[in-house]
């Protein structure tokens, strides 16, 4: 791309801008021409992205120069710069930069006869105020969540970590979209290799744009592109993001997305929830265990039950009541698959259905599909029970991405079990575990700390350890600074 410098004459600037960003054609880009001290001054802006009150104020100030400084013999550019009341004012010398800035929502001021443009930040992006994220609600704790505005988002973490060693590095991704991407990390904690790796991956991205923000970015950065499991952890909670930042993780903010990427991550890390840290350690542990049971249930209860229906002799005598009393009209395997697909219908419908219709949908789901399906003999009551358990288990999974991945695994296990019985179930489970073992996010084993086993980290997952007793950061992020609090602390807790 040729670096065209700012032409001296404002006439040329106008011609260039008309051609390049289509002034007069696109309604949202505009120019305001002023006469300041008998010199032509042009302001370029995008009307949806600037604060019109501030622009009016600015123009007022510029026009008043004619009254206030008519006797001043200084350079006109100096006078104008002096009269701009905004915080962020800078000069650019090429047209490319000036155009980029205008399209980002800043105002470019061109002065006739001056070979640079003055850029003023008067951005005001359309957006909402922080509100509690739907997917990660807690009973106690902060109710703010990330928004679509990257500046507000980094602000929310900065409010929680007022450390001079916190780095927020801005990068731009996308030839056309020019989306801002911010890498955040603690300079003296996070692993340099990993930061370099992420930066390199981001600079290598050559795509038109990333309108689907964080998800697209994940696909560009991480391996395992076909994996049904998330290779990063997503969060919309600033407190969760800050906690990971302090543990030595790297965060990626993407403008226009309220979801922040936490890197690197593991399967087990995705099973943690902010709620566990908002309750007493014993309660947190209890919640985590129950959650673990629910997640394992969502994975294995359907294939196991199918196995016991297919071969009741597997059941020990104490559990022989399990299994349908009558065979039914449809094979159990088909019933389970139908049920699983039906539940997916409902889940998707629940996402898209407008609120006024939600009640009607709930009615159809509960009464028609549930009860009538049993009455007409399509599904047996026991299928509904285990289906419901499995589904609730998947809703308990804190990470939505993991719960969908688990869902696919359940399908896979049910089909293998139906085809091959016990060997199918065992080999399916083996493939599932080995698949997770095989996955790597950068050089982080995905099933860590289970396989490869790390006693400390596993213990901290099984038991929600009180924070004063956790002195060191998780080894998986290879922190430069291992300790999160001084070691003497241990003595005090004896």
């Amino acid at each position: 791309m040729t670096q065209e410098s700012v032409p001296k004459s404002n006439h040329d600037v106008e011609e260039y801008m008309t051609k390049r960003i289509g002034i007069g054609k696109s309604f949202d880009v505009g120019v305001r021409q002023l006469l300041v001290l008998k010199t032509n001054v042009q302001l370029y802006y995008v009307n949806g992205l600037v604060d019109s009150v501030m622009i009016t104020k600015m123009i007022e100030e510029l026009v008043e120069i004619n009254d206030n400084e008519w006797a001043n013999k200084r350079n006109i550019a100096k006078i104008i710069e002096n009269r701009l009341l905004n915080i962020q004012v800078e000069k650019v010398e090429t047209m490319d930069e000036a155009v980029d800035q205008v399209l980002t929502g800043l105002v470019s001021i061109f002065i006739d006869g001056i070979k640079y443009a003055i850029i003023v930040d008067v951005r005001s992006y359309p957006g909402r105020t922080p509100e509690e994220p739907d997917t990660e609600r807690v009973i106690r704790g902060s109710r703010d969540g990330f928004t679509e505005n990257i500046i507000e988002n980094t602000g929310l973490t900065r409010r929680r970590i007022k450390d001079e060693r916190l780095r927020n590095e801005m990068h731009t991704v996308g030839e056309r979209s020019k989306t801002d991407v911010c890498i955040s990390y603690l300079q003296d904690v996070a692993d340099n290799h990993f930061i370099d790796f992420v930066k390199q991956k981001i600079s290598e991205i050559e795509t038109d744009g990333i309108p689907m923000a964080d998800k697209t970015l994940e696909e560009f950065i991480m391996g395992g592109k076909w994996s049904p499991f998330p290779m990063v952890r997503y969060t919309e909670r600033p407190d969760v993001a800050s906690k990971h930042l302090m543990d030595g993780h790297v965060l990626l903010f993407v403008d226009t997305s309220p979801t922040v990427i936490i890197l690197p991550t593991t399967y087990i890390n995705c099973l943690e929830h902010a709620e566990e840290y908002r309750q007493a350690p014993a309660v947190g542990t209890f919640i985590r265990w129950i959650r673990l049971i629910a997640i394992l249930g969502s994975l294995f209860i359907l294939p196991l039950w199918l196995l016991f229906v297919m071969d009741p002799s597997l059941l020990p005598p104490q559990l022989s009541f399990i299994g349908p009393n009558e065979e039914g009209n449809v094979p159990i395997f088909i019933q389970i698959i139908l049920g699983l697909i039906g539940v997916e219908f409902l889940r998707m419908a629940a996402v898209h259905t407008p609120t006024p219709l939600a009640t009607a949908m709930g009615l159809i789901a509960a009464v028609l599909i549930g009860q009538i399906a049993i009455d007409v003999g399509l599904l047996s009551p026991e299928v509904i029970l285990y289906l419901a358990l499995s589904t609730i288990g998947s809703y308990v999974t804190p990470s939505y991405e993991v719960s969908i991945g688990n869902k696919i695994t359940t399908f896979f296990l049910v089909i293998l079990t139906a085809l091959f019985g016990v060997p199918g179930f065992m080999i399916g489970t083996l493939i599932f575990i080995l698949y997770l073992v095989n996955l790597k996010a950068f050089n982080t084993p995905y099933l860590w700390p289970f396989i490869p086993f790390d006693l400390t980290a596993m213990f901290r997952f099984i038991v929600r350890v009180p924070v004063p007793l956790v002195n060191n950061r998780p080894s998986i992020v290879h922190p430069k600074n291992v300790y999160s609090q001084p070691l003497q602390k241990r003595g005090r807790n004896k």
Partner: protein
């Protein structure tokens, strides 16, 4: 308080040469406990007609308790201890492996040793071709996961230590 104590002894902040060995033994012990518990579950649900206790207790002891819960608990603990030796052998021979495939192979080798080579030692264990398909596949899967658990953990820990 036991929780706190456990945390303290687990917190080895700076790994040293002997601590990788310690961790390998610990991995072996936990791995033995965990996967033999799973094995007992598969025995309980008749996936497998053999359980850890078939080898460790029933082959030489015919008391009644060996067939009860106590027999399972004792055999699980014994498996944990034996598993430390298995982990030690891996640590001495193949800890430098860079892939978890070494662990899978290790698991398969262990299974062949136990089910084929050592089979004549145990009077109550049927020979390989007399075992049913479910038992063979279930135990083989368990041994593969167990081998991966031991092998990948020790190798990963070793390479992490090398990188420090």
């Amino acid at each position: 308080m036991s929780e706190n104590n456990k945390v303290k002894q687990d917190d080895k902040p700076i790994p040293a040469e002997e601590s990788t060995l310690k961790r390998a033994l610990m991995t072996g012990f936990i791995g033995g406990l965990f996967w033999s518990i799973i094995w007992v579950f598969t025995y309980y649900f008749s996936f497998s007609e053999l359980a850890p206790k078939s080898y460790l207790l029933r082959s030489w002891l015919h008391r009644e308790w060996t067939d009860k819960l106590l027999g399972d608990v004792v055999s699980i603990l014994l498996t944990g201890i034996i598993s430390m030796i298995i982990a030690l052998i891996y640590y001495m021979l193949i800890k430098k492996a860079t892939t978890y495939l070494a662990g899978i192979m290790y698991g398969i080798v262990l299974w062949v040793i136990l089910f084929y080579i050592l089979q004549p030692i145990f009077p109550n264990i049927p020979s390989l071709h007399e075992l049913d398909k479910d038992t063979i596949i279930t135990t083989l899967c368990l041994f593969i996961v167990y081998g991966t658990f031991i092998g990948y953990s020790i190798s990963y820990d070793y390479h992490e230590y090398q990188n420090e």
